[in-house]
């Protein structure tokens, strides 16, 4: 048994699969989430989603089964829960999510839901904590929806076959279809997989990625889990390419879409920094050429010139943007990209440590040292205990550890939980707008650190 089988909560900050699945389903407008499990699990998952989506409060409910239900089944609780939804809401669909202990019971959830004779469709998924962490729950939810996409596509195909055979004007219909395709095909079309508004500045990141790709000339076909409507998600197979932004959330789904519909995919990661964003776009362009990449290059150049100018001015007053240490603690997709952007484009340091909160094969060259949660717990503990000051880019968790250890640091949140920061603006972390935002926050972290030092001396 490997050490990384165990998860240390003081280093590992992923939520459970129930939360990941809830986050995915919640992002489909018109959906209601019924959690088949105790109130504790329901509340936790709902609250996590509600932090970014206030409407979640009234779109989640739970069945609250008693202990006996884990022996005799949850049918009674489930039917009562579905009745509650039916009596009080008019959802377009209900997602029924089993928590971990209930998923061990083996209830025929779909059968029970059918008994309830509901005016809306119910889609069930086993996505409790034993299925894994947030990423695994999100993945289960995405694959569950892809199964519906497949059913939908098959039903359409059957319908089209019947229609074609029966139609006297089959030729005309074909012409019309081709015309539609031509209209869509005028822009290369992509699906964005692995995005979620529940991430730190997730909604803003989704908008920025969409903006960059659209400006470059791509058509965004669907963003499942990132705000796309059910009808848009059902059109997933229409895209020319699936872009996987976070492997841990969507690589498996991209492979499934390739197997089922023949759509190729590209694992491209998240775009951080200005040079990083251009490299990211180049990678996409190499597979599916963009029609207006130049517009993005020009914008990047303009923003970069502005940042360089601002940086020079600030350096003349405050000295270089130097940190004795930089700690970046985040899931792989965020940590690797941000490490390259921070050290490669803006700040200098002699020691950049990455704490990956999930296992990964990524080994960014910008890092002096890499630790993986669960695998390198001892080394991670040392990072905190031996910390002598510098920039911490992570969550409130790292800030909490260092506060308790009375260590000096300045910080800039890049992942959740972010308890010591309010997020009210629409600035992203990724892309070109995100680069300017991160640059600004890192500089301001340095400046507030200098000011705090002076104030504490007084």
């Amino acid at each position: 048994m490997h050490d990384n089988d165990f998860k240390t909560s003081c280093h590992h900050m992923s939520t459970c699969a129930l939360t990941g699945a809830s986050a995915f389903f919640d992002a489909i407008p018109g959906s209601f989430m019924l959690i088949n499990g105790p109130l504790w699990c329901y509340f936790y998952a709902m609250k996590y989603v509600e932090d970014y989506d206030a409407s979640a409060l009234r779109r989640f409910h739970c069945t609250q089964p008693e202990g006996n239900a884990l022996v005799y089944g949850t049918e009674k609780d489930l039917l009562a829960g579905l009745d509650f939804v039916k009596a009080n809401f008019t959802p377009e669909r209900v997602f029924l999510l089993n928590n971990c202990s209930v998923s061990l019971v083996g209830d025929d959830i779909a059968g029970i839901a059918a008994k309830a004779e509901l005016p809306f469709p119910v889609y069930a998924a086993d996505c409790g904590g034993i299925a894994g962490d947030f990423a695994e729950g999100y993945e289960i939810a995405l694959l569950r929806v892809i199964a519906e996409v497949k059913k939908n596509a098959e039903a359409k195909r059957d319908l089209a076959d019947v229609s074609e055979a029966n139609s006297k004007n089959a030729d005309e219909a074909k012409v019309s279809e081709n015309l539609n395709l031509e209209t869509i095909d005028c822009k290369p079309s992509v699906n964005l997989l692995g995005l979620s508004p529940t991430y730190f500045r997730g909604e803003e990141d989704i908008k920025e990625i969409r903006r960059i790709l659209e400006m470059a000339g791509y058509h965004i076909n669907a963003i499942p889990g990132g705000g796309s409507a059910w009808s848009e998600i059902m059109q997933l197979p229409q895209a020319d390419l699936n872009l996987v932004l976070r492997d841990e959330l969507a690589l498996k789904a991209a492979k499934e879409l390739q197997a089922k519909f023949g759509t190729p995919y590209l694992s491209v990661g998240m775009p951080y920094g200005i040079a990083g964003t251009l490299r990211w776009l180049d990678a996409i362009n190499a597979v599916l050429p963009a029609k207006n990449r130049e517009a993005i290059r020009q914008e990047a150049e303009t923003v970069n010139a502005r940042l360089q100018f601002r940086s020079s001015n600030m350096q003349s007053l405050w000295g270089p943007l130097w940190f004795d240490n930089i700690l970046i603690a985040a899931p792989p997709s965020e940590a690797a990209g941000i490490a390259e952007a921070v050290r490669g484009e803006w700040a200098d340091t002699g020691n950049l440590v990455i704490h990956f909160t999930q296992d990964t094969a990524l080994r960014p060259q910008a890092a002096t040292k890499i630790c993986i949660a669960g695998k390198d717990d001892g080394a991670m503990k040392e990072t905190f205990e031996n910390w002598s000051g510098g920039l911490v880019m992570g969550s409130s968790l790292e800030a909490s550890r260092l506060v308790r250890l009375k260590k000096p640091f300045v910080n800039c949140n890049i992942v959740l939980p972010a308890y010591h920061e309010i997020i009210a603006t629409d600035s992203p972390l990724c892309g070109i707008r995100g680069a300017a935002h991160l640059f600004e926050r890192i500089w301001n972290a340095k400046l507030s650190g200098c000011m705090d030092e002076v104030k504490s001396i007084r």
């Binding site: 459970c16 209601f32 202990s101």
Partner: protein, 446 residues
């Protein structure tokens, strides 16, 4: 992003949360963690999926930032919390091997002096013999290994996990011994030594030259557990309500077993109770005159403060909104505070989320108060028709947020505020809310 969709159209409920709390609503495991979370030398394993440890960590994180927000300087570090990371395959083959490996990992990485294991609902359903594993680990590593095999929510609530851990510690590590005069042991959590309750109790006890040495459980290093019974007075940080019954019962058991006097029948929550509690302390130190003097001083502080806010609070129309059952909330304290601020209680409204049984008990409590306060005409609305009374109110004192309602709302705290300072905090928050200019929405927290 998804506001305003069809899902919400049929909604008839007004309060923020949809659930009622008439069934088990928490989990035993975070209770186990909280009972030792700042006891240096301990480590805690959740024999669970990893998300369970994450929940406990977020609770701790929230508590820490609340303390920082209260301008307190927390000076303790939490002990390691590790999940055995139960997965689907463990439900088939059992999770015992996984737990054994996890214990070895914890021993190697953190070298704790005492290990605690809590079990999840998944471990409960699988049927792992965790107590046997704990026994084996104790023999192998030569340190105490305590086990709370309550199976997450299956074995009870948060408080069940918490108090079972306390009982295990009492049984195993603490013996009766001579007392040190003036040494006080605080019993219970209430946000720990930096929380408002413990700070206020310490301040009030200082009048009587009583010195708080420890707060147990949760905040005493493992190495000092055996000294706990040297305290000469036990002060449970309790408040009226059934959820705290465990604290009273455990405090009674502690007092009896270790021969330690304790103040258990009244708690310093709400002004009247604070006065009674101060008199009990005075009785304990055998200086009743001192007790009366302290009550006078504290009452004077309150009166002086109320004078400063009356120009704003006097005759303001207040509505009390109740959606929290009698198990968690007694409306009398809030009603007394309103009276002190000379506000006019224009109605009491009960939210739909209360069960019929809870509604009956809350109505009885409010009717009793109305009789005592001689306010028989205050309407009590339980049929959901409270739009008009809220329109006319200056402020709503409420257990639940009413989202989107323009009335100024004050959230009645879940964790009770203690002593005179607790009264100040509540009154100050209501005063500030009444001073509010413009409609800023939301709800004010004390």
């Amino acid at each position: 992003m998804t506001n305003g969709n069809k899902t919400e159209q049929k909604n008839k409920l007004a309060t923020k949360w949809l659930f009622t709390k008439n069934k088990s609503c928490s989990c035993t495991m975070p209770g186990v963690w909280r009972a030792v979370s700042f006891c240096d030398g301990c480590a805690v394993i959740f024999h669970s999926p990893l998300g369970c440890a994450h929940v406990a960590t977020l609770m701790d994180l929230g508590a820490q930032y609340r303390i920082i927000g209260d301008h307190q300087n927390e000076n303790m570090d939490a002990v390691p919390l590790i999940s055995s990371n139960l997965r689907e395959k463990d439900s088939i083959f059992g999770g015992v091997e996984k737990l054994r490996g996890c214990i070895a990992h914890v021993m190697k990485t953190w070298q704790p002096k005492c290990l605690l294991i809590a079990t999840s609902c998944v471990a409960g359903v699988i049927g792992d013999d965790v107590e046997q594993e704990a026994e084996d680990a104790e023999a192998e590593y030569g340190i105490p290994v305590l086990c709370v095999p309550y199976g997450g929510f299956l074995g009870g609530e948060y408080s069940d996990g918490y108090f079972q851990t306390v009982r295990l510690i009492m049984d195993r590590f603490i013996q009766p011994q001579p007392k040190v005069p003036g040494r006080v042991l605080l019993f219970g959590d209430q946000m720990g030594p930096c929380g408002q309750y413990a700070r206020e109790v310490k301040r009030l006890l200082a009048y009587f030259e009583l010195d708080v040495k420890w707060q147990f459980p949760g905040y005493v290093p493992f190495a000092e557990w055996s000294e706990l019974s040297t305290a000469s007075l036990l002060i449970p940080l309790n408040y009226a309500g059934q959820t705290q019954g465990g604290l009273e019962k455990t405090a009674a058991a502690w007092a009896e077993r270790f021969g330690m006097p304790s103040i258990r029948d009244v708690y310093p929550v709400g002004w009247q109770n604070t006065c009674t509690w101060l008199r009990k302390i005075a009785e304990f130190v055998k200086d009743e005159a001192k007790g009366e003097d302290v009550v006078r001083q504290e009452e004077e502080r309150l009166k002086e403060y109320v004078k400063t806010i009356l120009p704003v609070t006097q005759n303001k129309k207040a509505v009390l909104g109740i959606g929290r059952g009698p198990r968690w909330y007694n409306p009398a304290e809030t009603l007394n505070t309103m009276q002190r601020m000379q506000m006019e209680l224009s109605a009491v409204i009960l939210y739909d989320k209360l069960t019929d049984e809870e509604k009956d008990t809350v109505i009885d409590a409010v009717e009793d108060w109305k009789k005592t306060a001689q306010l028989p005409d205050v309407p009590l609305i339980a049929d959901g028709n409270y739009t008009d009374c809220l329109k006319q109110a200056d402020v709503l004192l409420t257990t639940d947020e009413l989202p989107g309602n323009p009335v100024k709302q004050f959230f009645i705290p879940m964790v009770p505020l203690a002593g005179t300072d607790g009264e100040f905090i509540v009154m100050r928050t209501i005063y500030r809310l009444l001073c509010r200019y413009g409609n800023k929405g939301g709800i004010a927290y004390a």
